[in-house]
């Protein structure tokens, strides 16, 4: 039995659930209490050493990297979602990486800044700082990741989101689905992220007609809406 260890319906959780549904795979959902920092306790860290969420577990293989867990579902169980043609598979992998990079951290930053107070964020950082063997953010990110985002950084996040949405809009002006003329892991990945963008920058999604129509197409597919409902907290 496949298990998915997760908490809230974050984009990473939603994309894995949609893919599992699209592959017609049953799975057990294991709830991780992140409010109590259970993802930083030993049982979860045995699956995900850096407290990552969600974690897909298939037999003795724990997969804390959602981007590659998504590819695993396609390659192991749903070949129609993972094109065999090397160029199309490159397109799926590259687009997912670009959309994850453009939308993922930006949506997290904007949502986190909007939904929490400075005091809550300070308390969270203090709690994280006390966790043993936690890797600090590396490289350029280390310069600002542990401090409050300033207006420039928030503006930069919005700009990145606009860039990612424009890239999707341009592709969808030319084709019904993002890669190779068929519904694939690229649509599932982008769907999960664009849904989250709709929460923090609704006008940016609504202003793009191809994107809005494509969202409707993905939602209409069996599994997608169910998956979102399934992932929602009770």
């Amino acid at each position: 039995m496949i298990a998915l260890h997760c908490d809230a319906p974050t984009p990473d959780t939603v994309k894995l659930i949609v893919a599992l549904r699209a592959a017609a795979l049953g799975h057990e959902q294991v709830s991780v209490d992140t409010a109590a920092y259970a993802h930083w306790e030993a049982p979860h860290r045995a699956l995900a050493p850096q407290g990552q969420l969600p974690v897909l577990v298939d037999g003795d293989l724990a997969m804390p990297e959602a981007a590659f867990a998504l590819q695993y579902i396609g390659e192991a169980y749903a070949p129609s979602l993972a094109p065999k043609d090397p160029w199309l598979w490159y397109e799926v992998q590259a687009l997912n990486q670009q959309i994850d990079g453009a939308l993922g951290p930006a949506v997290n930053l904007l949502g986190w800044t909007r939904e929490t107070s400075i005091e809550e964020r300070d308390a969270h950082r203090a709690r994280l700082a006390s966790i043993p063997h936690r890797q600090k953010p590396a490289g350029w990110h280390a310069v600002w990741a542990d401090a409050e985002a300033n207006e420039d950084q928030l503006a930069n996040a919005r700009e990145k989101v606009e860039g990612g949405l424009a890239q999707l809009e341009a592709r969808l002006a030319a084709a019904e689905w993002l890669v190779g003329g068929a519904f694939s892991l690229a649509d599932i990945n982008a769907f999960a992220l664009v849904r989250a963008v709709r929460e923090v920058m609704p006008q940016s999604v609504a202003a793009r007609p191809q994107l809005a129509a494509w969202l409707g197409r993905v939602e209409a597919l069996a599994g997608a809406l169910d998956a979102v409902a399934f992932a929602a907290p009770a």
């Binding site: 293989l61 867990a69 590819q71 160029w87 490159y90 992998q93 890797q135 350029w140 280390a142 310069v143």
Partner: protein, 256 residues
């Protein structure tokens, strides 16, 4: 089969990934040299090919590839030669996960690389020329990062953090390589390609961590990969970093 062109810098970091993968497969290709020390990756001709201004870019069969790790999977799937990607989906997951871990640790390594090599070269540039080349960087985020890095140096604390992060990753690699000769098992895969392309010079960059006493299995793995014909061939023909790499190979006991 049509010709392959790779527009990239040295066999180093992202630039090096497709070079190593093509060399391992035994594929002949045109290496179009992009000198990132001169910011050539932001020149108009290059941006026409790759608007993001990142290296490497590969062109094959009318397709343009700009994401370095996925382009290596394409290379493996498209060309004959030894398999670099396992067939089993679980093994593929592990291969990709090691690639991601390496990329994250490489972000810390880039701080040290900037401090030791690129930063001093860039700060020696004429300020007006520096301003001109930074202005043509296509994304705001990267303009800010290059501008900040060009004008300032890292603090001792930031450098110490970066060294510790890279050192911790060497220990992670060593732990895995105590179990298996290559990162995901008995065979060389793209996990090794990606990791070697980023971490082949650690005995020189972070000798306090990358040494035989602290990380013997990592050092043995390094030696195994340096000794591969594809690795030696690439470093022998590289313009600027190859000599340094061959010196490390010699110290490891590889006849360069």
């Amino acid at each position: 089969m049509s010709a392959v062109a790779v527009h990239s810098w040295e066999p180093n970091s992202n630039s090096g990934k497709p070079l190593f993968a093509l060399a391992e497969k035994g594929v002949e290709f045109d290496h179009v040299y992009v000198d990132i020390v001169k910011f050539e990756q932001h020149a108009p001709d290059y941006l026409a090919l790759n608007p993001a201004g990142t290296v490497p870019t590969m062109v094959h069969d009318r397709h343009v590839f700009t994401e370095s790790t996925p382009m290596c999977e394409y290379i493996d799937a498209t060309f004959p030669g030894p398999k670099l990607v396992p067939d089993d989906p679980g093994a593929r997951y592990k291969m990709r996960e090691w690639g991601r871990r390496t990329d994250l640790a490489a972000a810390a390594l880039s701080v040290l690389g900037w401090h030791m090599f690129l930063g001093p070269m860039v700060r020696a540039m004429d300020p007006a020329e520096l301003e001109r080349v930074i202005a043509r960087i296509p994304t705001k985020e990267r303009r800010i990062a290059w501008s900040t890095a060009a004008k300032s140096t890292f603090t001792e604390q930031q450098l110490a953090d970066a060294r510790a992060r890279v050192g911790a990753y060497v220990m992670e690699l060593d732990t895995q390589l105590a179990r298996t000769p290559y990162l995901i098992g008995q065979e060389y895969t793209l996990a090794d390609t990606v990791t070697f392309a980023n971490f082949y010079a650690l005995p020189m960059t972070v000798p306090d961590y990358a040494n035989r006493e602290k990380a013997p299995h990592y050092m043995d793995w390094l030696k195994r990969i340096y000794a591969r014909p594809a690795t030696l061939k690439l470093f022998r023909t590289s313009r600027s970093l190859g000599q340094r790499a061959l010196e490390i190979a010699a110290k490891l006991g590889v006849a360069a």
